[in-house]
C-alpha cells in the first residue's frame, strides 16, 4: 500500500514538473542569453505566453499533408511524456521504473514521427531538415547509448532508477560518471539541434535542422511540437545532471531534488553561454565533433570493463 502511495506521489510530482519546468527552462535560456548579449530580453515566463497564444490561434495545414502530419505531434508528445515519467530527471525516483533502452527508443520514436511529418508535406526544406536530423542522430544515438551502457554495466542493471542512484564513490566511478556526462552532453546538444550543431534561433530555411522540419506546423500543431521539444531538452539536461551527480557521494532525496533543479538551471546557463559565445559548426564538421562524444563514451565503457 505504501508502495502504491509512493508511486502516486512521485507521479503527481513528476506530472506537475512536466507541465511547468520545460517551458520555464526555455524561458531561462532565452533570458540568460539576452542578458549575456546585453539585451533586456523577455521574461522567463514568455514561452508560456507563446504557447498559450499558439494554442488559441487557428491552424493552417498543407493540402498535401495526410494524417501522418496531423498525428505526428500527438505521437511525439505521447512518447516524450512516457519517457519523462521513466527517467529520474528530477533527482528523485521516477514513477515508472524506466528502462534505459525503452527510454532511448521512445525518444527515437518521438523523433522519427517528426521527420515523417516533415516529409509528408512534400516540403523540400522539411526533407533537408529530416535528412540532416537522420545524419546527426546516427552519431548521437550510439554515443548516448554507449555512455548509458557504461553506466548500466557498472551498475549491473538497465533500470534507470537503480542505475542513477549514487553508491559508494571511488575514483573510477567519478571518472566514469564524468566521462559519460561529457559524452552525453555533446550527444544531447546534437540530438536537440542546439549549438554548435545547429542554431535554434536562426530562421534561414536552408541551414536549419529541427526548425526546418516543423516549418509547416502552425497554431495548436506547432504548440504541441514546441512544448515537446522543451520537454525533451529538460529530460536530457536532467539526465546529464543525474549522471554528473553519480560522481559525488549520495545525498538525501530532498537535497538531490534541489540539486537537480540547480543543475537544470546550470545546464540552461551553459546552453545560453554556448549559444552566445560559439559559432555554428560547418555541416561537414559535425561528425568530427560527435566522434569526440562517441570516444568519451567508449572510454567510459573501457574503464568500466577494466575496473567496474
Amino acid at each position: 500500500m505504501t508502495e502504491t502511495l509512493r508511486i502516486a506521489c512521485l507521479a503527481i510530482i513528476y506530472i506537475a514538473h512536466i507541465a511547468i519546468v520545460p517551458l520555464l527552462l526555455i524561458g531561462i535560456i532565452r533570458t540568460a542569453k539576452a542578458r549575456l548579449q546585453g539585451r533586456q530580453g523577455p521574461s522567463p515566463l514568455q514561452p508560456f505566453r507563446d504557447i498559450a497564444k499558439l494554442l488559441r490561434k487557428g491552424e493552417t495545414v498543407s493540402t498535401v499533408a495526410f494524417w501522418t502530419f496531423l498525428g505526428a505531434p500527438l505521437v511525439t508528445l505521447a512518447a516524450t511524456v512516457a519517457a519523462a515519467l521513466m527517467v529520474p530527471w528530477l533527482g528523485i525516483d521516477s514513477p515508472i521504473a524506466g528502462d534505459l533502452l525503452l527510454f532511448i527508443y521512445l525518444l527515437t520514436l518521438a523523433k522519427v514521427v517528426i521527420s515523417l511529418s516533415a516529409l509528408d508535406t512534400a516540403s523540400g526544406f522539411g526533407a533537408i531538415g529530416a535528412s540532416r536530423e537522420a545524419a546527426v542522430s546516427l552519431f548521437s544515438e550510439p554515443a548516448m547509448l554507449a555512455g548509458l551502457a557504461a553506466l548500466a554495466a557498472h551498475a549491473g542493471t538497465t533500470n534507470l532508477n537503480a542505475m542513477l542512484t549514487p553508491g559508494t564513490v571511488t575514483v573510477e566511478t567519478s571518472v566514469v560518471a564524468g566521462l559519460t556526462a561529457v559524452g552525453l552532453w555533446m550527444a544531447i546538444m546534437a540530438d536537440l539541434n542546439r549549438m554548435p550543431i545547429d542554431d535554434p534561433t536562426t530562421h534561414l530555411e536552408l541551414t536549419m535542422i529541427h526548425e526546418a522540419q516543423i516549418l509547416d506546423n502552425s497554431g495548436r500543431n506547432l504548440a504541441i511540437v514546441e512544448y515537446t521539444v522543451a520537454l525533451r531538452l529538460c529530460l536530457f539536461v536532467g539526465l546529464v545532471g543525474r549522471v554528473a551527480m553519480l560522481a559525488l557521494p549520495p545525498v538525501t532525496p530532498v537535497v538531490a531534488y534541489l540539486a537537480s533543479l540547480a543543475l537544470l538551471c546550470l545546464g540552461a546557463g551553459v546552453i545560453a553561454v554556448s549559444e552566445v559565445g560559439m559559432v555554428r559548426l560547418g555541416w561537414r564538421r559535425i561528425p568530427n565533433l560527435l566522434s569526440f562524444s562517441v570516444a568519451a563514451s567508449l572510454l567510459a565503457c573501457l574503464l568500466v570493463a577494466l575496473k567496474g
Binding site: V171, V175, L179, P287, N288, L289, S291, F292, V294, A295, L298, L299, L302, L303, A305, L306
Partner: protein, 211 residues
C-alpha cells in the same frame, strides 16, 4: 589519497589528453593541450616527490611544468604564429577518426595486455602515450605538429620513469629536459627556415632537395 591510485588516475587522464590531442586539427589547441599535459605531468612528479620525501623529484616536477608546460608551448605557439599555421589537415584519415584508431590501440593494450609478466599494468598508459605520440608524428602534415608528436612521446617516457622507478637521478632528468628544450628550439628554427625556403611546412611535399 594513496599514491598508487593517484598515479593510475592521473595516467589515465594523461592518456585521455593525448587522445584529445590526436582528435584536434587546430595547431594552437594542440599546443595548449600539450601544455596542460606537461603541467599535469610535472604536478604528478612533484606529488610523487612529496609523498616519497624526495626533494629533487619536486624540483624536477616544477622544472618540467615550467619548461615543458610553459616555455616550450609558448615558443611553439610563437613559431606557429610566425609561420602562420592554423589548421593541420592531416593525412587521409580525419583527426576525429584517428581518435578511434588511437583509442583501439589503447583498448587493445589495456584489454589484452600483451606484455603481461614483463611490464606492470601501470606501464600501459605510458606505452599508450608513447604510441599516440608516434601516431601524431606519422599522421600530421605540418612539421610543427610533428614536433608536438615528438614531445608527447617524450612525455610518455617521462611518465614511465616517474611512475615505475619514481624518478631517475635528477641530473639525467634535467639533462633530458634541457635536451628537449634545445631540440625544440632547433626544430622550430629549422621549420622556420623550411617555411621561408619552401613557402610551406607540409612534410608530404618535402621530397626533393632545395637550397
Amino acid at each position: 589519497m594513496v599514491l598508487a591510485p593517484t598515479i593510475e588516475a592521473v595516467s589515465a587522464a594523461l592518456v585521455v589528453l593525448s587522445l584529445w590531442m590526436i582528435g584536434i586539427s587546430q595547431y594552437v589547441t594542440s599546443v595548449r593541450l600539450f601544455a596542460v599535459q606537461s603541467i599535469t605531468l610535472g604536478a604528478l612528479a612533484a606529488y610523487i616527490g612529496m609523498s616519497k620525501g624526495e626533494p629533487m623529484m619536486i624540483v624536477v616536477g616544477i622544472a618540467v611544468a615550467i619548461f615543458k608546460g610553459g616555455a616550450v608551448p609558448s615558443y611553439l605557439a610563437f613559431a606557429g604564429r610566425k609561420i602562420g599555421c592554423r589548421n593541420d589537415s592531416s593525412l587521409s584519415i580525419a583527426p576525429p577518426l584517428q581518435i578511434f584508431l588511437a583509442g583501439s590501440v589503447v583498448a587493445f593494450l589495456s584489454l589484452s595486455h600483451p606484455f603481461r609478466g614483463e611490464l606492470p599494468a601501470t606501464a600501459i598508459p605510458c606505452l599508450d602515450i608513447l604510441l599516440i605520440g608516434m601516431l601524431l608524428m606519422v599522421t600530421r602534415r605540418l612539421a610543427l605538429s610533428q614536433i608536438i608528436g615528438f614531445l608527447v612521446i617524450e612525455n610518455g617516457i617521462f611518465l614511465y620513469t616517474i611512475s615505475q622507478t619514481y624518478g631517475m637521478p635528477v641530473l639525467v632528468e634535467l639533462g633530458v629536459l634541457m635536451d628537449v628544450l634545445a631540440i625544440t628550439m632547433l626544430a622550430g628554427l629549422l621549420v622556420y627556415r623550411i617555411s621561408s625556403t619552401f613557402e610551406h611546412v607540409d612534410v608530404t611535399k618535402m621530397k626533393e632537395l632545395k637550397g
